[in-house]
Symmetry: C2
Subunit: 410 residues, 2 copies
């Protein structure tokens, strides 16, 4: 494995009924900016619960942070922080609210004229620190509750920017999976798929002599493939929500990336689809990933076979029809027989992954299902061409590959 | 799973050649107490390397911290810290040096007359903070480099005390597995077994609806069972040392314990054997654990079967002789056939674990191998009887059970 640095100081309170920790974690004399999204926290009662625990602290609301949070929205918090003398920010929401809050927390410390500079030049953020902030998570997906990263959209140009700083770790995160029970099912599905592909981006690369990291990633993938369909069938099962919350948090808290190569090409292509067509982030990943895997199969063959054997349990040499741990494992055994060649087994693994993603979205994982045409996609590969981007852990995904993958996903 | 709090702010620099981070992590004007053990760091050259990176900082040596560090030794550091105006402690060594340093760091902040009070009453340590300290790890075993816990021995009474405080996390730990290449093999073996049983203490309990934690623990156990024999066969293979270092660190950094029941009875019985007879800590675990498992098999049956299926790969229904992932898995398949009953499978798993531990110590895992007699053991179960201790995740291990286990281990 490669050398690595690991640091994650987020204090996590996980489980039902953990909200009371707010009162000990936020200073009694704090002046709190409460950030949230479209107002669902009012409907579900979480807003009232939070206000109750905050007691008589001075609290100012800052709602309306949209999915794929907009720079233009977030900067409106900055004058409020100044005029109200805010000393602590509390984000109540999912990844978008938390991502947006990270940017606000850093921008509040920025003394330059235009906070836009922080997104254009991420190095700028390193030196300036950030206001302290905590989170109350209401949607498990991005893992933002336990890392220092954010993705911010400039609405004006439809561009997404990655942002992070050594100071934008939440001081604490309260992860009570019961708060996710009121979500619409499509958001739960997006969360499963987001977490699944997050893990894949850090696992499905070339082998890197990292057995511990591999086993952890496989554990998360196996759990997500197990609970994904169950979450749809049993939307009120809190134990399944617990497992999803833990998987999503683990998928992006830095640990499974330590010492191993990373890919992230599916995210970068998916971000373009969200920016251009407004597709949900999780859905874009489900659309792109199977075709990217098949396109890059020679580079990912060794890991795909490992995945087939350990996660799908489609072990070579297993009797056809013998019980497998997974539906897709059983299917692959039947399809591939006792001694598949490596290319067949890797392809089978990619199909197994596709089957899982297709199931999660009821088959609607083609761009054409969302009315998108070939002509509309052209700007994406043109943009990759202009920027001469080479994606993937081996830098093998050029504009031509992006074009092939998008056309296969139509 | 249960609700939990997670917090681990240790900054880890992992991999070959990471020592240079010392110079950025320790303030340039720090006055450093350098703590170490019996002086092997002089032989191996690590001492000189560390001094070189520390540059012209004021450094005072405090060597001679023994295995199972003695309270009587550690308190001798306190007047030195005062007289030399020490502001930072750097521990260079294994778990004993780091454990001892944690106690020194806290005791240096204690204003009472007798630092012994901190061990007698662990609550006392919570309020007083600790001096900042970092570590350079030279032996992978206890995981002390990434947690806030320590075990301190009072030489006078042969007693071991657990110590921890919210302030005794290392600020940073440098984990360069190349530093472990010069260790005698028996210390490497002790490290493998210590890490293995640490994981088991947090995994081999009753099932707790915690699939992610289970998968992580199984990943560590599978890796340790794989690399254990290889470490003996290839003592110069740095990749195996990397994997061991990662397993040992993960085994006790708090993550796999989050939300699940814990056991720790093997450690508590083993500590008695170390205190009375001076046996290595890892060895005491290898002596006790198989017999504890067999004694408690009805309480641990479900998890033993899960372990047999997932880690030993002795899956029910697998053809006898079909390739298994592990030596013990293949053995169990042959022994148990296609449809073992649950009790047989659980027993088989316990035997599989015993086989691994026996292999690691060349068969010398009986108390009689070390000249210990039944009569000498009696004080142990008498002490359990006096204190009315009930150990294990179900509190089913009373003095009578301790007696049975020790006699079986003779």
């Amino acid at each position: 494995m490669n050398a690595f640095e690991l640091y994650n100081p987020v204090r996590v309170f996980f489980g039902e009924g953990q909200l009371f920790h707010l009162s000990e974690q936020i200073p009694a004399d704090a002046r709190v900016l409460l950030t949230f999204g479209g107002g669902s926290i009012h409907r579900t009662g979480i807003y009232d619960e939070v206000r109750k625990v905050l007691g008589d602290r001075h609290v100012v609301d800052f709602g309306g942070i949209e999915p794929n949070p907009h720079y233009e929205t977030l900067v409106q918090a900055l004058p409020i922080i100044k005029s109200e003398g805010i000393t602590f920010i509390l984000a109540v929401g999912g990844g978008s609210v938390i991502d947006g809050t990270k940017f606000i927390a850093a921008a509040a410390k920025y003394e330059g004229a235009d906070p836009w500079e922080l997104l254009k030049n991420p190095k700028l953020a390193e030196g300036i620190g950030a206001m302290p902030f905590g989170t109350v998570l209401t949607l498990s997906a991005t893992g933002s509750e336990m890392n220092n990263g954010a993705v911010i959209t400039r609405a004006e140009t439809h561009e997404k920017f990655a942002f992070h700083s050594p100071s934008t770790f939440p001081v604490f995160s309260i992860v009570d999976p019961a708060y996710t029970l009121s979500l619409p099912m499509n958001q739960v599905v997006n969360g499963v798929v987001d977490a699944f592909v997050h893990v894949m981006e850090q696992y499905m690369t070339y082998p890197a002599d990292a057995p511990v990291q591999d086993r952890f990633a496989e554990g998360l993938l196996a759990t997500l493939m197990d609970i994904g369909p169950k979450l749809r069938a049993y939307p009120k099962d809190l134990r399944l929500r617990d497992d999803l919350a833990l998987c999503a948090m683990w998928a992006l808290n830095g640990w499974i990336a330590a010492g191993v190569p990373e890919d992230w090409s599916t995210h970068l292509i998916g971000h373009e689809l969200t920016a251009l067509f407004g597709l949900d982030h999780g859905l874009t990943l489900a659309i792109i990933y199977p075709h990217l895997l098949k396109d890059q199969i020679e580079h990912k063959q060794a890991k795909l076979i490992q995945f087939a054997e350990r996660v799908l349990d489609a072990r070579t040499g297993k009797k056809a029809g013998e019980q497998s741990n997974t539906v897709t494992g059983t299917m692959l055994q039947k399809l591939l027989g006792a001694n598949p060649d490596p290319h067949m087994l890797a392809t089978g693994a990619a199909i197994g992954i596709e089957t899982f993603l297709v199931m999660m979205y009821d088959g609607k994982v083609h761009l054409s299902d969302y009315g998108i045409t070939k002509e509309q996609l052209q700007p994406i590969w043109e943009r990759f061409e202009q920027r001469r981007w080479r994606l993937g852990e081996n830098r093998t995904i050029d504009a031509e590959a992006v074009k092939r993958i998008l056309l296969a996903a139509l």
